[in-house]
Amino acid sequence: MRKSWQRLAAGTAAVLMLSLVLSACSGVKKEETGAAGTGNGKSITLRIMWWGSQARHDATLKALDLYSKNNPGITFEPEYQSFDGYQDKLSTQSAGKNTPDIFQMDAAWFNDWASSGRLEDLSSIPTDNIDKALLETGTYQGKLYAMPLGNNAWGMVYNKTIMDSLGVQPPKTWDEFFAMARDLKPKLAKDQYLTRDLTADSASYMTYQLSMGKGFSMSKDGKFHYDEATWKDWMNKWAQLRKDHLVPPPDVTVSDKSQDAQMDLLIQEKILLRGAHAAEFGGTDALKPGVMALTTQPRGTQAGGWLKASMYWSVSPNSQYKEEAKKFIDWFVNSQEAGDILGTSRGIPVNKTVADALEPKFTDVDKNALGLINEVSKDGAAFDPGPGNKGGWANFTKEYDNITQSIMFGKISIDDGWNQIVKLSKSLD
C-alpha cells in the first residue's frame, strides 16, 4: 500500500516536472523566434541605382531578386531611370551625402568622382578573369574605384527592315551618309527621314571629328580640341539638310527620347538610324523586336567609333554596408548565375569565363552587339573619357548644347555659334 502511494507520488512529480520543462521550452522557443523576427541587425537594405532601358531594368531586378533569395537578410531598394538626368541626380545625391550604396558609373565622369573621393576602393574584389584593359579604365592612382561591367562599342543602330526593303545598306562613310539623307528622302513618308538633325548632338560631332582624323574634341587632360574647319563643315552640312527639309524640324528632333516606346523617333520609324552603344541594343530591340541592327559609325579618313567599358558599378564611401556592397558586385561580375540572368544587358560580360559560358546561348541581339564590338575593335579608337566636369567643363558642355541648339533653331549663325564656343573655351582652365 505504502509502496504504491510512493510510486504515485513519484509519477505525479514527474508529470509536473515534465509540464514545467515543456512550458519552459516553449518559452525559450518564443524568444528565439522573436529574436529572428527583429533580424538581429542582419536585415540589410542596399540602395542601388542605375540607368538603362527597360530590358536592362528587368534583367537587373531579376538578378537582385536572386541575390536576395540566396542571401537572406539582404534586400535592395532599386532606383533606375533612363540616362537623361542620371548624372544630375547622382551629383545632387552626392552633394547631400545621400548617394545609393551601389550606383552605376560612366567612364565620362569616373575621373571626377574618383579624384574627389566620392568612390569607395573596390580593389578587394577578385578580378582574375576580367579584361585588364577594361579594369584599367576603372582604376585611379592604382586603385580600382569602378568595376567595369561590360565591353561596349560606339556605333549605329538602324532599321534593317526598312533599309532592306528600300534595297540600301547603312552608310559606310560620312559622304554616303549625307548623300543617303538626300537620296532616300523621296522614298520615305512625309515625316520620315534617314536621320534626325545632329546639329546639337555633341557625341555625333565628336565621332565626326574623330573620323576626320582630328582626334577627340575634348580630351582627358582637359584640353579644348574642337577643330574649327571640321566643326563648321559639320554645321554647314546639317544647315543645308535642314534647309532642304531632309531632316526633321528642330522641335521634332528635340522631342526624341531615346528608348522610350512613344518618344523614340527610331522606334516610331520617323528616322532610320542613330548613333548607339552596343550595350543599348537589347533595350532598343525589345521595343521593336527583330527590326533593328547594329553597324559601325560612318568613316571619314578613319573609323569614327570607339571601344569603351559599357558602365561600372561603384560604391559610395558613405555607405553603411560597403562590404556587403562589394560582395554583391563580386557576385554580379564573377558568378555564372548572375551572368545567366544579366546576359548582355550591360554589354558583353567583362568576366571571360562568364562570357565564354554565355556565348553558346547568345541570341541574335547578343550576336549583333558582339559583331559591332568586334568590328570596332579592328580599327576603332580607345575611348577618351574626356575632361569630366572640372575646370569649367560642366558649364562648357551645358552652354555648348545651348549654342548648337540655337544654331539648329536658326537663332544664331554658325559663325556666331563658333565665336561663342571659342569665347566659352577661353573660360576653361
Binding site: A9, T38, Q81, D251, D260
Partner: protein
C-alpha cells in the same frame, strides 16, 4: 436523489473534489483572461497611440514640407514665366529646359520624399507621361477624378493613385496646388507626387505587424499599410472614433478583405479636421498573452486536478478504509462463532465506532447465549410437561386397575380410596386447563378429605360452605387442596381429631375463601422455617401462582386464629367467568411450577 446517500463514499469524495477544483480553475481562467485581455488591450492601445502620435508628427512634417515646396514652386518666376510664355518654340523649350535643369530636377534629386512633378498648363511643348517632370495639357486635368476637389479648393491632398515615371507605373500620393499668378489668374496646376512606399516606410519603420490607415479629414483613405479595408468598413471604424486619440474593440463586417474581423482599432490625429492615423490590430494578437496565461492556468489546473486526484484518492481511501472494514466485519458477523479481530489502533471517531460495535456484538453474544439457554430450558420444560401429562394418565389408569383388583379381592375400603384418588386425578388433569370452576375445586378438596377420613376415622370433621352462585366461577386449579392438607397435617399434629372449615364468600370484586383448622396454630418461627418437606411447598406454589396470575390485591395470607386455637388461611381471588389469556404468563407459571 442525493449522491451522498447513493454512491460509494470514496467516489463521491473523489469526484466532488475534482469537480470543485475544475470549476475553481475554470473560473480563474475566465476571470484572469478577461482581466488581462482588457489590461493588455488598454496598454497596447496606449502604446500604439504614442507610436501613432509620433508617426503622425513625422508624416505631418513630411507633408508640410511637400506643401511648402509646392508653394515655393508655384510662385517660382521661371515656372510662371514658362507657363505664361507664348509663341517661339525654341524660347519656350529653352525656358523649360532651364526650369527643369536648374530648378525642378535638383529639387527632385535632393528630396527623398518628392518623387515627381506634374504640371498642367495650357500648351505644353511635349507630353511625356513617363518623365520625372511632366508637363501636361490642362484639358487632361478636367478628366481626372481629383479635378472637382481642386476646382473648389486652392490645394488638396489626394489618396493613392498610379502615375507614370522613369521606373514605370508607381503608386503615389499627391499634393495638388493651383498655380495662380499675382493678378489672380489661374495658370495651371502643380502636382507633387510622393511615393507611397516612402510614406509606408515611415508608417512601418517600427516593424509593427499592425495595419495602419491614413485617412484624410473627410474619412477618405489616403494610404494604407498591409491591408486595405473597403470603404464600408472605414465608415464603421470612423463611427467609433471620438476625440483626437482613443481606441475601440470592433468586429468589422464580413465584406472586407481582412482575414481577421475582430480588431482593436486605435486612432490618433493632431487636431480635429486633420489627417487621422488608424491602426488595426487583430484582437487575437492583443490577447495572445492572455490566452497563453489562460492556458498556463489550465495546465496548472490540470496538474492540480491530477495532484488532487491522487490526494483525494489517498484521503478517501484512508477515510473509507475503517468504514469498509466495519462493513466487512458486519457482513462476516455470525453470533456464536469467533469473529474477525477488530482494529484497535483507532483513537478517534472510528475508534468509538469500533468500540461501540464491539460492545454491541458482545451484548448480542450475551443475549444470544441467554436465549439459547432459555430455549434449552423451554425445551426441557416442554418435555417435562409432556411427561407430567403422561404420568397422571398412567396413574389414573393404574388406579382404575387397582380399584378393580381391590374389588375382586373384596377390599371395599381400598377400592373406595382408589375411586376418590381417580376422581382427584381427573380434576387435577382437567384437560390441561389452568382454571377450573370452583365446584370442581371443592369436589377435589372433598375427595381429599374423604381419603383422609379413611385414615383418621370419625376424628376428622369438615364443613364446606360455598354460595351456589360462586360455584360456577373459575379459580386456579389445585388452589385449595394444599391449605386443606396443611390444616390436616398441622391441625391434627399429635391429636386424633380435628375440624376443618372452608368458607367462600363474595367480597367486592373478588371471592374470599377462608380455611380454618382448630389445631395448634402456627409456630412462632413459621415464616423463617419455610422449608417443610410437604406442606410448605404446596402453599408457596399457590401463593406464587396467584401473584403471577393476578397480582395485588389478590393473594394468600396465613395467620393464627384470634377466636381460638388453630390457623386460618385466607385466599383472595378475582371473579372469573372465562379462561384467562395466559399466553405469556402460563409458560412462566409453568416454568416456575416445574423449576
Amino acid at each position: 436523489m442525493n449522491p451522498f446517500r447513493m454512491f460509494r463514499i470514496d467516489y463521491v469524495f473523489f469526484f466532488s473534489f475534482a469537480a470543485f477544483i475544475a470549476v475553481l480553475i475554470t473560473i480563474m481562467m475566465i476571470v484572469s483572461y478577461r482581466f488581462s485581455a482588457n489590461e493588455q488591450a488598454d496598454s497596447a492601445s496606449m502604446y500604439q497611440q504614442a507610436v501613432l502620435q509620433q508617426l503622425n508628427k513625422q508624416l505631418t512634417d513630411q507633408m508640410s514640407a511637400v506643401e511648402q515646396t509646392s508653394l515655393a514652386v508655384a510662385i517660382n518666376s521661371p515656372l510662371v514665366n514658362y507657363l505664361t510664355m507664348k509663341g517661339d518654340y525654341y524660347a519656350r523649350k529653352t525656358a523649360r529646359d532651364e526650369l527643369n535643369r536648374d530648378y525642378l530636377a535638383p529639387m527632385l534629386n535632393s528630396s527623398r520624399s518628392m518623387f515627381s512633378f506634374q504640371i498642367y498648363m495650357s500648351e505644353p511643348l511635349q507630353v511625356d507621361p513617363n518623365a520625372n517632370i511632366q508637363y501636361l495639357p490642362l484639358a487632361y486635368a478636367s478628366r481626372e477624378s481629383w479635378y472637382p476637389a481642386v476646382d473648389k479648393a486652392d490645394f488638396v491632398w489626394i489618396g493613392q493613385r498610379e502615375v507614370g515615371s522613369p521606373q514605370g507605373k508607381q503608386q503615389v500620393i499627391s499634393f495638388i496646388r493651383k498655380i495662380t499668378t499675382l493678378d489672380g489668374v489661374n495658370r495651371g496646376i502643380l502636382i507633387i507626387n510622393v511615393r507611397v512606399k516612402f510614406l509606408q516606410d515611415i508608417l512601418t519603420e517600427d516593424n509593427s505587424s499592425a495595419s495602419r490607415l491614413l485617412l484624410d479629414s473627410g474619412g477618405r483613405m489616403i494610404m494604407h499599410t498591409r491591408i486595405a479595408p473597403p470603404p464600408g468598413e472605414i465608415d464603421a471604424i470612423l463611427k467609433e472614433v471620438s476625440g483626437d486619440a482613443g481606441h475601440a474593440h470592433q468586429l468589422l463586417q464580413a465584406a472586407g478583405s481582412l482575414p481577421e474581423k475582430n480588431m482593436l482599432t486605435v486612432w490618433s490625429r493632431t487636431a480635429p479636421g486633420s489627417w487621422m492615423l488608424v491602426e488595426l490590430t487583430p484582437w487575437k494578437d492583443i490577447t495572445g498573452g492572455s490566452v497563453r496565461l489562460a492556458w498556463t492556468m489550465a495546465a496548472i489546473g490540470a496538474a492540480a486536478i491530477l495532484l488532487s486526484v491522487f490526494f483525494t484518492l489517498f484521503l478517501s481511501r484512508n477515510f473509507t478504509v475503517p468504514i469498509r472494514k466495519l462493513v466487512q466485519l458486519m457482513q462476516a458477523f455470525n453470533p456464536g462463532k469467533p469473529g474477525l479481530p477488530l482494529p484497535t489502533e483507532y483513537r478517534n471517531e472510528f475508534g468509538s465506532l469500533f468500540s461501540g460495535y464491539r460492545k454491541l456484538t458482545e451484548r448480542i453474544e450475551t443475549l444470544y447465549q441467554s436465549l439459547e439457554q432459555q430455549y434449552k430450558a423451554q425445551r426441557e420444560a416442554e418435555i417435562k410437561a409432556l411427561q407430567a401429562m403422561i404420568n397422571p394418565h398412567f396413574l389414573y389408569n393404574t388406579l382404575d386397575q387397582l380399584n378393580w383388583m381391590a374389588l375382586e379381592a373384596g377390599q371395599e375400603e381400598i377400592s373406595r380410596v382408589l375411586e376418590l384418588m381417580g376422581q382427584m386425578f381427573r380434576i387435577g388433569l382437567s384437560g390441561g386447563e389452568s382454571m377450573i370452576p370452583m365446584q370442581d375445586e371443592l369436589l377435589h378438596v372433598e375427595c381429599y378429605l374423604k381419603i383422609q377420613q379413611f385414615k383418621r376415622g370419625k376424628g376428622l370433621e369438615w364443613e364446606i360452605d360455598c354460595p351456589e352462585d360462586l360455584r360456577q366461577l373459575l379459580i386456579p386449579k389445585l388452589t385449595l387442596q394444599p391449605f386443606v392438607e396443611n390444616a390436616i397435617v398441622h391441625g391434627f399434629h399429635g391429636r386424633c381429631h380435628g375440624r376443618v372449615v372452608l368458607y367462600a364468600a363474595h367480597e367486592d370484586r373478588g371471592i374470599r375463601i377462608r380455611i380454618r383448622d382448630d389445631g395448634v396454630g402456627l409456630r412462632d418461627d413459621w415464616k423463617t422455617r419455610r422449608r417443610h418437606p410437604a406442606g410448605g411447598y404446596g402453599i408457596r406454589n399457590v401463593t406464587e401462582r396467584i401473584q403471577v396470575f393476578f397480582g395485588p390485591p389478590f393473594g394468600v395470607s396465613l395467620r393464627n386464629r384470634t377466636d381460638g386455637s388453630g390457623t386460618e388461611a385466607e385466599i383472595y381471588l378475582p371473579k372469573l367467568t372465562q379462561q384467562l389469556d395466559l399466553e405469556g404468563g402460563r409458560s412462566d407459571v409453568d416454568a416456575r411450577n416445574r423449576g
